[in-house]
């Protein structure tokens, strides 16, 4: 389930950043992708909220800056 979540989160991030899906691995994060800056983080979280129907508070938005941490927010 985790791997599946990570794959769908990575695909969503790629579409928001407008880069190929292959460029976003399960280990990708704000530190590893140059396109993933602080404004992109907000865009990713807006898309994440809508796509997975998960509400994010300020703290979660600030901390969930990697594929794994975002995927961890999804129910099993």
């Amino acid at each position: 389930m985790t791997a599946q979540h990570e794959a769908s989160v990575a695909a969503l991030i790629a579409s928001v950043l407008n880069i190929p899906t292959a460029a976003v691995g399960s280990d990708a994060s704000m530190d590893s992708l140059p396109e993933w800056d602080s404004l992109a983080q907000l865009n990713i979280c807006l898309a994440f909220q809508e796509h997975f129907n998960v509400a994010m508070d300020m703290e979660t938005i600030a901390e969930s800056t990697s594929v794994t941490s975002l995927a961890a927010l999804l129910p099993d």
């Binding site: 404004l39 907000l42 807006l46 938005i61």
Partner: protein, 533 residues
């Protein structure tokens, strides 16, 4: 045309949803400055469309009850007004004021003389006045979005405090769709004809099985879904959309429904063309197109049957074929929220729109007469009366609409928006001629348009509505054009033909009206001249 997005909040997430528009965001919170500064990017020629999407609550600032609209709202309205006036060539799109539901005075707000409600209504009244004064200002109603989706779904508090982003992606998505649809409506890019299936579309059940009084169509119970749907279609028809039927049914069964089912909202006369038979639907749709003299890309087809929808989509890709709701109770809201704004959006309703069905029906009667007579006798019999108006400012909406919608009898197919038409009407270097047509069957309204460029001695635009093609009235507008050129001492005038995939029928128009071909370009463009004495 590039688009500049101005706001008092962070609206950057909207940019991706606005594709294919090419949108650039202004500096953060630069809206007021950009609108007022003549050196700002908004004022530069680089941007043809300016989006002013402001957050009302932020403009309200710390204002409290009894203080009315704060100065910032006034400053914004004044800046917007001045910007629209000084840039008549730019399209400006702005939202209406829409305050959040948090109220300083909560329950006392409603009765308070300076309530938020009152303030909002006053401010919006000012915006609406402004939109009447400036045809280049296009307003979108935020209240519609908030009523439909609700504040909880559209606002994004955590993003607001982290990055000054006010809205959720649902808002950005819905707002982008609304801006696209409003702009299409504004430039008159809406479709003209709604083609309807019958069984399980206009009523419930199969007519051939249950008979004209067995179909589900009633004021109570499930049949009300279809009756309400028909009411909405009738309302749409009154905005100028033509209705037609393509249905696998016996024509006599359908006549029986029209004659005997009192629950039908739509009557026989509301339809300009009916095909109730067993032929494939794409063939029927093509034959409707031929009867109405319109291309299928101005058609929208509604049918509950996925096989029929697919058949039409494949055979006639120009026809818009939306999915159809599975549940009958969704018919009305689906039609009003999705079908109408996507394909039949209107920003202005002209007198022609209101009388459209009537005009097409008169055309049918004229066709009956023409079949029984030779052309010249027919034309004499019609008792045609034409009036040509020069620079009729009050018809500006109709003029822009004609340049946007006329495809077949259109020599140059130059699409103009209201601000451009305004420039032609105001400038002594141009004249706009509008031909009004009337005959013994009734008035067709404004059917012919010419835009003359005196500086270049050139006919910039020449078009006729397909409704009057073949009645030789184009000669009357040409005669008036010659007269205006002559008054200005011009005796050599130029005409152009710019080929498109739809205007082949007028390829030789100037050639057959006393013009001489002087140049033909590789792209098929032809230049003509004519000497008038």
């Amino acid at each position: 045309m590039r688009t500049l997005l101005l706001s008092n909040t962070n609206m950057q997430p909207l940019v991706a949803f606005l594709k294919p528009w090419e949108v650039v965001c202004g500096e953060f919170n630069s809206m007021l400055l950009d609108l007022s500064n003549p050196e700002s990017p908004a004022a530069s020629a680089e941007y043809g469309r300016i989006l002013c999407l402001f957050d009302s609550d932020s403009l309200l600032g710390d204002a409290f009850h009894g203080e009315g609209a704060p100065e910032q709202c006034e400053t914004f309205l004044a800046a917007l007004d001045r910007f629209c006036a000084t840039h008549p060539d730019k399209n400006v799109m702005a939202n209406t004021f829409c305050f959040g539901t948090g109220r300083y005075l909560n329950f006392a707000d409603l009765l308070h003389p300076q309530s938020l409600h009152t303030t909002e209504a006053k401010l919006n009244g000012r915006l609406i006045e402004m939109a009447h004064a400036h045809p280049n200002l296009l307003l979108v109603d935020f209240d519609l979005l908030f009523r439909r989706h609700g504040e909880d779904a559209l606002l994004a508090d955590s993003f607001w405090y982290l990055g000054r982003i006010r809205y959720s992606n649902l808002m950005f998505r819905s707002l982008a769709a609304m801006l696209h649809q409003a702009f299409d409506a504004y430039v008159g890019q809406s479709r003209k004809v709604l083609i309807l299936d019958l069984d399980n579309t206009l009523w419930g059940g199969i007519l051939g099985e249950v008979g004209s009084n067995g179909i589900a169509l009633s004021e109570d119970g499930a049949g009300r879904c279809y009756r309400d749907f028909q009411r909405a279609i009738r309302a749409l028809q009154r905005t100028g959309v033509l209705l037609a039927i393509s249905s696998k049914n016996n024509a006599t069964d359908l006549e029986e429904v029209f004659a005997s089912n009192s629950m039908m909202v739509l009557r026989r006369n509301d339809f300009v063309s009916i095909r109730a038979n067993w032929d494939p639907k794409p063939e029927n749709i093509l034959s409707i197109a031929e009867t109405l003299n319109l291309g299928v890309d101005s058609f929208v087809f509604l049918d509950d049957n996925p096989v029929e929808r697919d058949l039409v989509r494949t055979a006639l890709p120009g026809v818009a074929v939306p999915e159809f709701p599975v549940r009958a109770e969704k018919l009305l809201s689906w039609f009003l929220r999705e079908v109408v704004p996507a394909w039949f959006g209107k920003y202005n309703i002209t007198a022609e729109d209101l009388a459209k069905t009537q005009q097409y029906r008169m055309n049918e009667e004229r066709q009956c007469l023409s079949r029984s007579l030779d052309l010249d006798t027919f034309l004499v019999n019609l008792k045609i009366e034409c009036t040509t108006h020069v620079d009729p400012v009050e018809q500006i909406n109709r003029i822009a609409q004609m340049t946007q919608k006329t495809n077949q009898f259109n020599l140059t197919t130059r699409r103009y928006q209201i601000p451009e038409i305004q420039r032609f009407l105001d400038s002594p270097e141009y004249s706009v001629l509008l031909l009004e047509y009337k005959d013994r069957f009734g008035s067709e309204g404004s059917v012919g348009l010419a835009i003359l460029n005196f500086r270049e001695s050139r006919i910039d635009t020449f078009l006729m509505s397909c409704r009057v093609i073949g009645r030789k009235v184009e000669d009357r507008i040409l005669a008036k054009a010659y007269e205006l050129f002559r008054e200005r001492g011009i005796n050599r005038i130029m005409g152009e033909f710019l080929p498109t995939c739809k205007n082949q029928q007028v390829a030789n128009f100037y050639g057959s009206h006393g013009f001489t071909l002087v140049a033909e370009e590789a792209d098929g463009r032809k230049i003509y001249e004519r000497f008038i004495s």
